[in-house]
């Protein structure tokens, strides 16, 4: 993980703070009280839920009501998360992924951060003990007594949980198992008391089984007796039912015989009527047949007569139609000759238009030819203008350059009036030499003056000691001084003499006092003159260059004028040439335009004639089609008229036959009247005569039926009397009484069996329950056995947990020791190994080939202690945190310069490969190695670099 930005509001000394962090090493640099450590506290509180040095409420800025921390960080999934914590008079803790709220409330926020940053265990402890290395603690953790060290690192390693499980929950679990065991044993005792009844129940079941089999046998005997009685009774009932059946059949047969004799009488009567009808029919058959034949003939003749009458009507309709067609043909012929006239007119007009068009086309071609000529003239003028323009621009540019060269030349020429600088230089050098001499005199005078003042001051200062005769140089009595009389006057005289000398010197100094300043001025002037000489040389060379360039430009100027006049064809002034060209273009353009207008007017006329010709062609085509239509109509009408005339002729031939048909119809009708009576008689009796044979057969079958029924009646009578003799009604009644008595006995026995069965079932259930109880007892015994095993295992687990905790601690220590050694060797360049024993005592061991001597941590030099501690620390961060993130809070306190530098170097080597490390310091020894430096000033003003 790595932090990307932090925002604080009213947190500790920060009223408002915003800062961004980079990948790699970040330095928070500031003096004491600038709020450096507060930033680390804020990270700890918001992200890890810990790391505050006092109560949360005390972290709210003085006189403010609430504090707010907002930290943005990148997690291992590559996404940016933002955690926001508010506390004070309002409280809130939220985690966002982008704008999505993913957790709220301290517990769930911290748990989620634990997961997304790949941390394990209690992350506030990990932050406080592994991620943050606090002031001075870098080496201190490895000093102190074994008990203190053990306590600290057990906390860091977070393995005390194993011991806690063993003594807390695991112990409770074992005691729960023991309680369960006791409870089960009590239950087994209760079950045992219930099982005492089992033998008694078994005996009862056996007795009931015996009783049941006895009762069932008796019941079977009774059932057999009842069955026999019932079967005899059933056979008697069968005979009785048959007697009744015979009686009803006899009655049915008698009724049937009576119906059959009635039918026979009716059929005989009908047969007689049919015989009479047959005689009449035979007599009238001949007349009937003749009549029918005549009737058919009359029908045929009538049909033919009606057809001929229809033909007459059709003939007169066709006549009318023919005269209509003749009128129409006359009208169409007139229309046809009319159309032919119009076609001739159109053809004449078409020829006229064609002649006019070809005249115009010739005119247009001539105009276009002329237009082409004009266009070429125009294009020539335009290209002339373009060429002229290009060269004209070159000409203008050249002119501008000539002007600028002239200006430059003027400026160079002006300088010639300045006074000859070499003469000035000579004068000023003489002046400088003179002034230099004066300066040297001044220095000497000043020295003399200082000597005199010092002598005078010494005399004044040591006046008292001199009075005692003590020499100020030797600091002891001097005979020369001691023996002098009036030493006061002598000294005053000396002082006076010195004062006079001083005054003289001052006068001298005044004369030459301004010599250094003058010298400076002169030197300044000389520099200016030297510059002027240099400038002048430059100008000279510039002047010759300008002259050369001007002559070149003038040559170009002439050439360009020549080129321009060659374009125009005649020599002239440049401006005039330009106007000439413009004029030429204007004229060419006007002519071209006029010519183009003429061409387009001719084209318009041709277009108009073309559209008239087009119209004529369309009109002719249409008229032609109409003419053809008319011709077709005339032909068709003529064909139709001819067809109608031939039909009319055929009809006239047929109509000639009509009078003959009328005569034949009259004759037939007379013959029909003669035979009509015979025809009608035949029709009346023919149906009845047809039924004669049928009636005869009906009579025969009725007679047959009467005979059969009489036979059946006599057979049934015989059977009936036989059955009546066979039925014994007394025996039947006796059987009924016997059946009832046996039935009662059977029912009693059956109830008895059911009751025994019920008792048996209940006894069996009782027995089953007891077996269940036995099973339960066995199950409980097995459970007790299992609990015993579990207790044994749980006790071992408790031991193992303690052992595992210790082994993990050892594992951590080994891994840290191994990794720290690798780093230590790499950085120190030595073969020594770091050792960290079970009391967390650190030592360094020399390689075997150097004797393998061991030095304890306290015996290491200060620098070695820092390096060893950092290596262990880095290994701990790598192995225990998983966050690839480390914080150092004032790591340089109380370190000398050499150790500080070693620390800076080692930090980069050891922690540079983490995602991010933050170093809080007031010492800028780390500045060079940091990817980002954040400087904090006490009044909470931030300045980043």
């Amino acid at each position: 993980m790595r932090i990307t930005s932090i925002d604080l509001e009213n947190f500790r000394s920060h009223s408002r703070y915003s800062g961004t962090f980079e990948k790699g090493i970040n330095l928070i640099l500031g003096r004491n009280g600038s709020g450096k450590s507060s930033i680390i506290e804020a990270i700890g509180l918001a992200l890890f839920g810990g790391g505050l040095r006092d109560r949360q409420e005390d972290a709210v800025r003085w006189n403010e009501r609430r504090a707010r921390i907002k930290v943005a960080f990148l997690a291992d999934d590559g996404l940016e998360y933002v955690v926001e914590k508010v506390f004070g008079n309002a409280s809130n803790h939220e985690l966002y992924q982008g704008e999505l709220l993913v957790a709220r409330g301290r517990e769930s926020v911290i748990e989620k951060i634990r997961i997304i940053c790949g941390l394990q265990g209690d992350i506030s402890r990990t932050f406080e003990n592994v991620i943050v290395a606090s002031q001075n603690k870098i080496a201190d953790q490895f000093l102190g007594s074994p008990a203190v060290r053990r306590d600290y690192f057990n906390r860091v390693f977070q393995v005390d949980l194993y011991r806690k499980i063993s003594t807390d929950f695991m112990r409770s679990y074992v005691s729960d198992l023991r309680n369960e065991d006791e409870f089960l044993r009590r239950e087994i005792a209760i079950l045992d008391s219930q099982l005492e009844r089992k033998e008694e129940v078994k005996e009862r079941v056996a007795q009931l089984l015996k009783d049941l089999s006895l009762t069932k046998k008796e019941l079977d005997t009774l059932r057999d007796t009842l069955t026999k009685i019932r079967s005899e009774k059933t056979s008697l009932e069968q005979v009785s039912r048959e007697i009744a059946s015979r009686k009803s059949s006899l009655e049915r047969e008698l009724v049937s015989l009576k119906d059959a004799s009635g039918n026979l009488k009716n059929n005989l009567k009908q047969r007689e009527r049919a015989v009479r009808a047959k005689e009449i029919v035979d007599e009238s058959r001949e007349a009937h047949d003749l009549y029918e034949k005549l009737l058919k003939e009359e029908n045929i003749l009538n049909t033919e007569k009606r057809r001929l009458e229809g033909l007459a009507e059709e003939s007169s309709r066709i006549g009318r139609k023919i005269s209509e067609f003749e009128i129409e043909i006359t009208r169409l012929t007139e229309s046809l000759s009319n159309k032919n006239n119009r076609l001739r007119e159109i053809d004449d007009r078409f020829e006229e238009q064609k002649i006019e068009r070809s005249g115009l086309m010739k005119e247009k071609e001539a105009a276009e030819l002329e237009s082409g000529k004009k266009r070429r003239a125009y294009e020539l003028s335009v290209s002339k203008k373009k060429a002229f323009k290009v060269i004209y621009e070159q000409y203008r540019e050249n002119e501008r350059r000539i002007n600028s060269i002239d200006d430059q030349y003027a400026s160079v020429r002006n300088l010639e009036s300045v006074e000859e600088p070499n003469l000035c230089l000579q004068k000023i050098d003489e002046e400088i030499e003179k002034t230099n001499r004066e300066v040297m005199i001044l220095e000497k005078l000043n020295e003399a003056k200082t000597t005199k003042s010092a002598q005078k001051k010494a005399l004044e200062e040591y006046e008292d000691s001199l009075a005692e005769g003590i020499c100020p140089l030797l600091n002891e009595k001097c005979r020369n001084i001691e023996n002098r009389e009036d030493y006061g006057g002598y000294i005053a005289g000396l002082i006076k003499g010195l004062e006079e000398g001083e005054r003289e010197l001052l006068k001298e100094i005044k004369k030459v006092g301004d010599s250094p300043s003058r010298l400076n001025e002169l030197l300044g002037e000389k520099t200016l003159i030297l510059k002027a000489i240099e400038e002048r040389a430059k100008k000279e060379s510039e002047k010759s260059r300008i002259e050369e360039e001007k002559s070149k430009l003038m040559k170009t100027h002439k050439n360009l004028i020549l080129e321009l006049s060659s374009i125009l064809g005649v020599p002239a002034e440049v401006e005039q040439m330009s106007e000439e060209i413009e004029k030429e273009i204007r004229e060419a353009s006007t002519e071209l335009e006029l010519q183009n207008k003429q061409v387009s007017s001719l084209a318009d006329q041709i277009k108009r004639i073309d559209s008239q010709i087009e119209e004529l062609i369309i009109g002719r085509k249409k008229l032609d089609e109409e003419k053809k239509e008319t011709e077709k109509a005339i032909a068709s009408r003529r064909t139709e008229t001819a067809d109608l005339r031939s039909s009319l002729e055929e009809y006239a031939k047929e109509l000639d036959k009509l009078p003959e048909f009328n005569t034949r119809i009259e004759e037939t009708r007379r013959a029909m009247a003669l035979n009509k009576a015979g025809y009608e008689n035949y029709n009346r009796f023919a149906t009845l005569a047809g039924y004669l044979e049928e009636y005869a057969s009906l009579c025969q079958s009725s007679l047959e039926k009467c005979r059969n029924t009489s036979l059946s009646i006599s057979r049934i009578r015989k059977e009936y009397s036989l059955l009546q003799r066979a039925f014994d009604s007394e025996r039947f009644e006796q059987l009924g009484i016997e059946e009832k008595a046996v039935e009662e006995k059977y029912n009693l026995k059956r109830d008895e069996t059911v009751s025994i069965d019920r008792d048996l079932l209940s006894a069996k259930t009782d027995l089953e329950n007891l077996s269940d109880i036995e099973k339960q007892k066995k199950t409980r015994q097995k459970t007790i056995e299992k609990i015993g095993k579990k207790v044994e295992l749980a006790e071992k687990i408790r031991e193992n947990l303690n052992l595992t905790g210790e082994r993990i601690t050892a594992g951590f220590r080994d891994a840290i020791e191994r990794k720290a050694t690798l780093d230590y060797m790499r950085i120190s360049g030595m073969e020594e190994t770091i050792r960290w024993n079970e009391d967390y005592e650190v030592s360094v061991k020399a390689p075997e080939y150097e004797g393998g001597s061991i030095r304890s941590f306290s015996n290491l030099s200060g620098g070695e202690q820092v390096l060893v501690s950092l290596c262990l620390r880095a290994a701990m961060t790598g192995i225990l945190s998983g966050a690839r993130f480390a914080v150092f809070d004032e790591p340089t306190s109380n370190l000398d310069k050499e150790r500080k530098e070693l620390l800076a170097h080692s930090l980069r080597e050891l922690f540079g490969e983490l995602d991010q490390s933050i170093i809080v310091t007031h010492d800028d020894v780390f500045s060079e190695m940091a990817q980002k430096v954040i400087r904090l000033e006490p009044p909470n003003e931030l300045e980043t670099q």
């Binding site: 996404l79 997304i116 929950f169 409770s172 595992t804 993990i808």
Partner: protein, 397 residues
């Protein structure tokens, strides 16, 4: 007739991890870099051509359309040009962000820009009051939801979206894939994915660069893989899926990508690889990958061989040397984590083995014991330890 059977017969194309704008690391102005930059666009063009030729109904991109959050103007312009071909044919493009192109700020998202300029429709969850809201688009009766790249919150997001889905005519797009791999952050466990099974007709994943369908029998979650090799050593199937709503089946199609030749050679002690070029046919323009294995003292000039293969016509060559005579030692693992150490101690413990407890099961139960002890949940602690002891002692009859 129910509403499900009234739905039209539609075809949805699903691709992912296109990584437009990607350049290989190192030498940004080399011909190799420029060619590979083009390769990613070519692969995308190929899929768009396919979509247009087969008249698909909608085009899904499940993350990492771009290789980076910040893209250059050329990448943007070319992406717009390709997407506009789909837009002009009325094919809707539904996209989500991946871990490569997910912006940390809405105003700086290029995908959001493409959404606002109507080149595609971007779907991502938004915060609404106390709950997360999942916006969706509707295509002929199918609701399409987009979850973006949820990172470590993948399981949580999937469970949340599952709780708001109704019916089965839903499609969920998410930049994650099934897996338990702690080396690739942002994957999701198969169990967590299963909550979607009865609630979607199709779920489109991404993030992994190899084709994958989950579960193997009757899959509903499909990862098409990247279109081009993001890393040249990737060697699994890559392409795109086409889901047919009537058949409820997804067909996989291979993508078009740069040719890649992979060779393994063994070198004996004292030998070199001077004959490699003569013995192997190198294709013009291909990326050539060579793994050299050997033991003892053998001599392979990796850089020299790479240059030789490239002068033989390959676009680029990579030579990897693997020694077979050296076991990986503890020193190779620069930092074993606390968790690794804890696991190793527990799994190698003699005492635990003596009571019949070992392996992952033991690690898991100890983890649970620690967790419940810390949480103060004796009830859960007791249940876990009890069932663990049951498993050791055998079932109670």
């Amino acid at each position: 007739m129910n509403s499900e059977s009234e739905l039209a017969d539609l075809k949805f194309l699903h691709c992912s991890d296109i990584h437009l704008g990607r350049r290989p690391i190192g030498s940004p102005n080399s011909p190799y870099s420029s060619t590979r930059y083009e390769d990613y666009f070519d692969a995308f063009e190929f899929v768009v051509d396919w979509a247009l030729a087969h008249k698909i109904d909608a085009f899904f991109v499940t993350g990492d359309l771009f290789d980076k959050r910040e893209i250059n103007p050329d990448t943007l312009a070319r992406t717009q040009s390709i997407l506009s071909r789909l837009r002009d044919c009325g094919i809707r493009v539904i996209a989500i962000e991946g871990n490569h192109d997910k912006s940390f700020n809405v105003n700086e998202s290029w995908l959001r820009f493409l959404h606002e300029t109507a080149y595609l429709e971007l779907l991502s969850p938004v915060q609404g009051g106390n709950d997360i809201i999942f916006p969706y688009v509707e295509i002929s009766g199918f609701k399409v939801y987009g979850l973006g790249y949820p990172g470590f919150l993948a399981a949580e997001m999937i469970s949340k979206v599952a709780s708001v889905l109704s019916g089965r005519n839903n499609i969920v797009l998410v930049h994650t894939a099934p897996g338990n791999d702690s080396f690739i952050p942002g994957l999701v466990t198969p169990e967590a994915l299963n909550v979607l099974r009865s609630k979607v007709v199709y779920a489109g994943g991404g993030h992994l660069h190899s084709q994958f369908a989950f579960p193997a029998n009757d899959p509903f979650f499909f990862v098409p893989g990247s279109l081009e090799y993001w890393d040249v050593w990737e060697n699994d199937r890559k392409g795109f899926y086409v889901f047919n709503t009537e058949k409820e089946a997804a067909d996989f199609h291979n993508s078009r990508r740069r040719e890649r030749q992979e060779f393994s050679v063994h070198v004996n002690e004292g030998e070199g690889l001077s004959d490699f070029i003569e013995d192997h046919e190198i294709h013009h323009g291909a990326i050539v990958l060579v793994t050299v294995s050997g033991s003892g003292d053998f001599n392979v000039d990796q850089g020299g061989l790479e240059r030789e293969i490239e002068s033989g016509g390959a676009l680029k060559a990579f030579v990897k040397v693997r020694r077979t005579d050296r076991d990986i030692t503890l020193d190779d693992y620069k930092s074993m984590s606390a968790r690794d150490i804890e696991r190793e101690v527990i799994m190698s413990s003699k005492e635990w083995k003596e009571i019949g407890a070992k392996g992952e099961e033991l690690v898991a139960i100890i983890e649970k014991m620690k967790h419940f002890q810390e949480e103060g949940r004796y009830d859960l602690f007791k249940d876990s330890v009890d069932s663990f002891l049951e498993s050791i002692t055998g079932d109670v009859s």
